[in-house]
Symmetry: C2
Subunit: 498 residues, 2 copies
Amino acid sequence: MHKTLKDKITTADEAAALVQNGDVIGASGFTQAAYPKVVPPAIARRARRFHERGEPFQVVLFTGASTGDELDGELARAQAISRRYPYQSHPDMRHAINSGDVAFADLHLSHVSHYVRCGFLPRPTVAIVDAVDVTPDGKIYLSTSGGSTATYLQMADRIIIELNRHFGPALGAFHDTFTPAPPPRCSNIPIYSVLDRVGEPFVQVDPNKIAAIVECDLPDSTSPFKPLNDVSRAIAANIVDFIKHEQKMGRMPKGLPYQSGVGNVANAVLTALSQDPDMSPFSLYTEVIQDALFSIIDNDKLVAASCTAMLFSPEGQSRLHREMPALKEKVIIRQQEISNHPEVVRRLGVVSMNTALEFDIFGNVNSTHVMGAKMMNGVGGSGDFTQNCYLPIFMAPSTVRDHTISTLVPMVTHTDHSEHATKIFVTDQGLADVRGMSPVARARHIIQKCAHPLYRDLLTDYLEYGLRHAPAKHTPHVLGKAFDFHLRLQKDGSMLPK
Amino acid sequence: MHKTLKDKITTADEAAALVQNGDVIGASGFTQAAYPKVVPPAIARRARRFHERGEPFQVVLFTGASTGDELDGELARAQAISRRYPYQSHPDMRHAINSGDVAFADLHLSHVSHYVRCGFLPRPTVAIVDAVDVTPDGKIYLSTSGGSTATYLQMADRIIIELNRHFGPALGAFHDTFTPAPPPRCSNIPIYSVLDRVGEPFVQVDPNKIAAIVECDLPDSTSPFKPLNDVSRAIAANIVDFIKHEQKMGRMPKGLPYQSGVGNVANAVLTALSQDPDMSPFSLYTEVIQDALFSIIDNDKLVAASCTAMLFSPEGQSRLHREMPALKEKVIIRQQEISNHPEVVRRLGVVSMNTALEFDIFGNVNSTHVMGAKMMNGVGGSGDFTQNCYLPIFMAPSTVRDHTISTLVPMVTHTDHSEHATKIFVTDQGLADVRGMSPVARARHIIQKCAHPLYRDLLTDYLEYGLRHAPAKHTPHVLGKAFDFHLRLQKDGSMLPK
């Protein structure tokens, strides 16, 4: 290592001492992939020392998306966060947000870097990033995720690098880092196929801004994938049947890439697509690549994959280690503004598949708020893709919590994706294709195809009551009854009447 | 006129006889600009004759957006429409939709042509278009709007042309018609500045598909603009102050083009921008150009304007007639999928200004549904722009109907634009800039800046009640009380308590 860099090597606690009360941290990390793991716990310790002395210590935290316990968990428990952008999923951070202790602004992930650069959001003062390599002239090579790290590095005054030896510097070459020029002097994003490289494999920074380098050797702290359950399998089978049908009808060209949300259901769908003998090889243009990538490869179905994060189970990470040269030929990691960019998503014709928290009979989707009030994780990239993709598919188990909650409700308590954009709904019960339908036709079709039998009559009753009593029959809502399902759940613990 | 075309000249009634029960009509027209005015009333007469004989006669109607009485009005009154796409604003059509007689699917306007070409929506069988010229080899020159007309012409089996002599063939040269290639074999939309021409000034069709030509000489049936009222003036002044402030702070580069919704408030805002001595000349990249264009020109402030429709008052139409050569240098008419295209809107950094029907304290916007049930007009292009623009601004009078309705409510009854995308809210009371704020911070700021004083305490009471009683404090909604404003309005005729 070059002397100028060697001189910057320090401990986590010394690096944390560079972070002051009121700082705005821009951290790497998108899901459990490539968030800093060593310095944040030291910042949490520092915050606790301040608080014990009765002194304030809180920072604003930007990341790519959710992160793991060492960042979101530690800092939330230390009460060291005042504001959080743009997504999270850690139980302690979620609790702090829903208690009103952390001000959380939940943003479309393609907008974050752009808004930071435009000065619409607080400017990151300190960037803390997980990196696989750094050069004396300021080239930083990122690890398993792109996130919004390039923008945070470029905007920050001080840079703290966690130089993580775990995957080795070869991982850096997965990245393609491209920052669009600001409007009005803008160019296009010249990505015309999934693997097109349009930027550099590193982020260039002023080397004088690198304030500290902390060495470590840590994998991403991920969990093994849960075995598939019947509900996930049923949802996946419904989607595979639909895609094959659409391809046969000529409405879905075979070269369209897929985007798939994060989690077990999304993983199950891609695995099922790869296992189907009638499916041609396909590409992913997505936010997060999970272990399904390996099923697709093993079934000889992978053409190419673009993402902003590789979220692999511990077993998947070992495989990444072993097969890095081969994977590098077919997988690219981008900044999240490019993985989710409307221009590219629309151009490539991405088929988008995301999970709904709840959806309503008229086709509106809630991805974020339990009972309209409690933040779950955030809207993430679901809006970027839903609004701009070739065809958006939303999926959910028809019921959860032992049938006490129907994910299909009369009216969603928060709308993240409106009836104007949504098209296809899938549960374990079936698939509703509501393209071109009016709200009432949609309601009948969604109830018939997607509702759990326990809830079918209740949902139909609401629709029929509305058609008799609502102020209009276009979307026949009756506001005094629209949340009856939710109010019953709140009062009696079930959406089903006693 | 060439003989092959001359032979196709016929009467409106003969042309209407080419339309059969069950046909899918793709018509030109975007607002009152360039919709067919002669053949649709003949189709309405034909429908009535069928109905009098007890025979069915209904068609599906696609247009660019809303149209005037001769199309939406006549066909709605004749009960000749079964399904309507993708936008409307005629009272009789609206009544038919809200009575449940017409199935209306309300779509983002940038999606329509694409979805029609992909086979997601019924295929137009008959195209009926207002045109200023047609050539024997099938070049059709459109009139005052682009809409989705190119796609309808290309997909339809039969084409009926209303050859409208009113503006003369020179108007055709305003158009730039470009159809993106279907994914996955797609290219970019090579528009890098407002006036870039990327297509042809005509729509090329197979001349054999031209089934009838009906000659006419009719202006667009528009109304004069209403004189500005104090509320519009106050909203406009708030927006002008804000834009000047943002420019000064370096957060809004001066070359960014503006998009502005349809109507008197939008017209007032653009007029006020052009009258401000401190504003540099600017461009429009918008859906509909209204008479404000002439104020901008007269104040020496017009750089360039791109639209999909020129909706001018009768006086404005006369001026278009007189000044056509000069206007042609600075104004371009595109198909609506390009005027509203996410790729171009994001690239150019469009500043978007649209009217909200109602909005809520947490920043969600309802553009479409009265009481969550009754369709007003449709979402139009507001979603295309809000999701992809540089900065979205929503505006509304703080109250309507003699203060009995507050446009700012605890919870919107339908969400067209969610809190994840919205940023700036403006009423006659003031302007709330909620960039980067959490929902609760947004609520306090929006109430303080935008609420009418009559409603300020009621809105604050809801927020404070939620902070005490909601299931979570992130977005402290209490579902049993969220629609109290609306239920009071329904019961007592006012959102204010008795």
